[in-house]
Point group: C2
Chain length 152, copies 2
Amino acid sequence: MTAHAHPSGPTGADAVDALLDRLRASGGRVTPARRAVLEVLVEAGAEHLAADELAARVHASAPQVHLSTVYRNLESLEEAGVLRRARLGEGPASYHLSADDHHHAVCRRCGVVIQVSADALGPVVAALAREHGFRAEPRHLTIDGVCAACAR
Amino acid sequence: MTAHAHPSGPTGADAVDALLDRLRASGGRVTPARRAVLEVLVEAGAEHLAADELAARVHASAPQVHLSTVYRNLESLEEAGVLRRARLGEGPASYHLSADDHHHAVCRRCGVVIQVSADALGPVVAALAREHGFRAEPRHLTIDGVCAACAR
DNA sequence: CTTGATGCAAATGGTTTGCATGTTT
DNA sequence: AAACATGCAAACCATTTGCATCAAG
């Protein structure tokens, strides 16, 4: 049978399976806790989740999964290239799937967030390569500034 | 007399006084602890110092200055625009004078830090202004990547 | 003399770790 | 059966805070 009763539907379930494959390919094991973490992440889409928020959502379907397990899983999944950890400003780190990659420009006055494509950084990446041989792979930068509305 | 017995020489002492003036202008008070913190920072130049490393150097001349005071002073001085706090990769934040402004490219493998001039971000800043009217004033970006040595 | 700064100790918050046990391969 | 993952509690580390005292303006 192809129809599963997952709340996120067959597409979400398939996505989770694909990610678990990548985990396994990188030497990790597939466990219920890891599946649950990925389900939450797939469900969250581009939303940024802190570890404890993620754990809270995991607890909805798997209450026994400990926060420390979530941390360990996030670490393994990041090593497998499945997800990214971002340190946005202060407070806890946040996580999202590698598929939802992007950068941020944040207004210092009103806090509005503008998503910045990876392409926008092309010139900087090129300059670093040319001048320092540095292979930049910017993943999650936050650019500080003032938005159009607040600037006037 | 123009010759002072400061190890950093008259230029360093003048620099510290100028920075203290900015502090005072922004409503802060000038204290021995704050002077000591700035002396260390001026001496360090473009070097990145973590709070506890900074405290250790302050202790060379002022052993009674507490680490919590250093933290509070760093906060005040950042608010006065005198210095910048940067979160490079993992571990503690590091600090440097605003005069030594720059961004960072950090190697994900060996942790080496390459300083990137503010100019390098010109194209990105321009693109944000053109496309979103966003006035970017990037202060301490950290660009992730792999350095020349680790890439080979 | 008033307000802000300091030293200290103790609390905080996010994250990591040691260990005994359970699970995946 | 071997290697790895988990739950739990406890450790850890960078940073913050409450409070009584002190010093700068």
